[in-house]
């Protein structure tokens, strides 16, 4: 049971964390940008539901707009902003949440991981703490390098099978949540890399291993914290994937989203880049030893 005054203390820690993030990116000479929170074309993805705002949608992620900026020649950009996803409510989900997303031209998903391995210890230091936190009874050490494991290795080891490029997504999703995530060593952040090609519609395939895409996910304390890609810059391939995602959506009775034409018309101009999205609410939960996202936001969807 959180102690009296917990919310205020957590919101103060949250403000310091956001401050630290801005300092980190300022020191890296990044430009902070704000892209539309309401737009006509959410990226079509099978399992991401956009909330309607009149005839448009609320942002599920700033990805497409930030990549349009990369295509326009911006090289190092970051954004801290609210995103909205329908029907996502649980202990670590609120339908409205805050994402930090940053992009670096000229690097790949491993470059973004390297950023994260410096960002989190930087935040610890900014908060006047050593590079570890106590979360739900476990000490998490943030010093790099973090544990890395490919999806193939993780599934082989904890679920007894190896996913191919297009695995049964039901089996994959359930095993990820039931067998893989709980088995990860909570004492260090763990990075799962190289997801099946069919599961990363916005990431490029791995050169030399086209069964997987260059996508990684960072877990800490049992929480999914961040998702990074080597960004796909092939417009024809990206269009094909959007169409496939819409078809998958339709087969499940979900509305297809309009194809993001403005994005597709410029994505070919994007230099090879890395991008990363980090859940700020989840990060604050780690620093505040919060069991629920409700303890680190000022108002939840029920109290707004």
């Amino acid at each position: 049971m959180p102690t009296p005054g917990f919310l205020r203390r957590n919101l103060e820690t949250r403000a310091r964390i956001v401050e630290a993030i801005r300092c980190f990116f300022r020191d890296e000479a990044f430009l902070e940008v704000e892209t539309p929170v309401r737009y006509p074309c959410p990226a079509p993805e099978l399992h991401v539901e956009a909330m309607r705002s009149e005839d448009w949608y609320l942002s599920t992620s700033p990805e497409l707009h930030m990549k349009r900026l990369l295509a326009d020649g911006y090289e190092s950009i970051f954004q801290i902003g609210k995103c909205f996803r329908r029907a996502e409510r649980g202990r670590i989900h609120n339908p409205e949440f805050t994402l930090l997303e940053w992009y670096r031209a000229g690097t790949d998903y491993l470059g973004m991981l390297a950023d994260m391995e410096r960002l989190i210890p930087f935040i610890c230091s900014y908060l006047g703490r050593p590079a570890h936190v106590e979360y739900q009874g476990t000490a998490i050490d943030f010093s790099p390098p973090w544990i890395r494991m490919t999806i193939r290795e993780a599934f082989q080891r904890f679920a007894g099978w190896s996913p191919g490029p297009c695995p049964d997504s039901d089996r994959f999703d359930v095993d990820l949540v039931d067998k893989i995530e709980p088995a990860l060593d909570k004492r260090h952040p763990t990075v799962l890399l190289d997801y099946p090609a069919s599961m990363c519609s916005l990431a490029r395939l791995k050169p030399g291993d086209p069964d997987v895409a260059e996508r990684l996910e960072v877990y800490a304390g049992g929480l999914e914290l961040a998702n990074a890609f080597s960004e796909l810059t092939d417009a024809a391939e990206q269009r094909r994937r959007f169409v496939v995602e819409n078809e998958k959506r339709c087969r499940l009775g979900r509305e297809p989203y309009p194809i993001p034409e403005r994005f597709l018309s410029v994505v070919g101009r994007m230099p090879p880049s890395g991008g990363c999205a980090l859940g700020i609410d989840r990060l604050v939960m780690l620093f505040c030893d919060a069991q629920s996202i409700d303890e680190v936001v000022s108002f939840t969807v029920e109290t707004a």
Partner: protein, 187 residues
């Protein structure tokens, strides 16, 4: 048929012909993956507990259960007594069948009790109850769900978070569906 997204604590479903009641439900969703519901279920026949993980597309048959409206009378320790207002039949149920929301019950509160055969398996309070504030409480800045809310005590002895303008003697409407109770409005 229920869809996975409609499952909640206290609901009874049938799996392979056996009725279960959901005792715990956790929504889990990796960022790009499908929603998965981790469920703890109690077998209504033999009381055994199983854990199951369901996907958002799964569908479930309701269990062979019936429901009756019954009025809460009083409690003795962990046993809560209810009466059927039509037949005057009285039964008692264990506190854990009601859950945390029992702290908002007053004598005469009408609840819906689900039975499997003759056996009560869950008690559902009305979605909303109206209770009097008996103590406007002290307020710590920031000890609340919302940073401007404060804690008060209501006539059942339970505490709840309310806006600062609520005074002792006010009647408030409470949403009982989450275990902690959520303030709705002053009545």
């Amino acid at each position: 048929m229920y869809e996975a997204g409609e499952l909640k604590k206290g609901l009874s479903i049938q799996i392979d012909g056996i009725p279960y009641v959901i005792t715990n439900l956790e929504f889990v969703k990796p960022g790009k993956g499908q929603a998965v519901y981790r469920c703890r279920l109690r077998n209504l026949i033999d009381g055994s507990v199983i854990d199951r993980t369901f996907r958002s597309g799964d569908k479930f048959e309701p269990a062979n259960t019936s429901q009756r409206e019954m009025q809460y009378l009083y409690s003795e320790g962990d046993q809560y007594y209810f009466m059927d207002t039509k037949t005057f039949e009285q039964i008692f149920v264990n506190a854990d069948l009601i859950g945390d929301a029992r702290k908002f019950m007053l004598p005469e509160t009408v609840c819906i009790i689900t039975f499997f055969g003759e056996k009560p398996i869950s008690v559902q309070l009305p979605n909303f109850v109206e209770l009097k504030v008996t103590s406007a409480g002290s307020s710590f800045v920031g000890d609340t769900v919302s940073s401007t809310y404060k804690t008060v005590t209501v006539e059942t002895g339970a505490t709840i978070q309310v806006p600062p303008f609520i005074k002792e003697g006010d009647r408030i409407k409470i949403d009982t569906r989450s275990g902690t109770g959520v303030y709705v409005e002053r009545v």
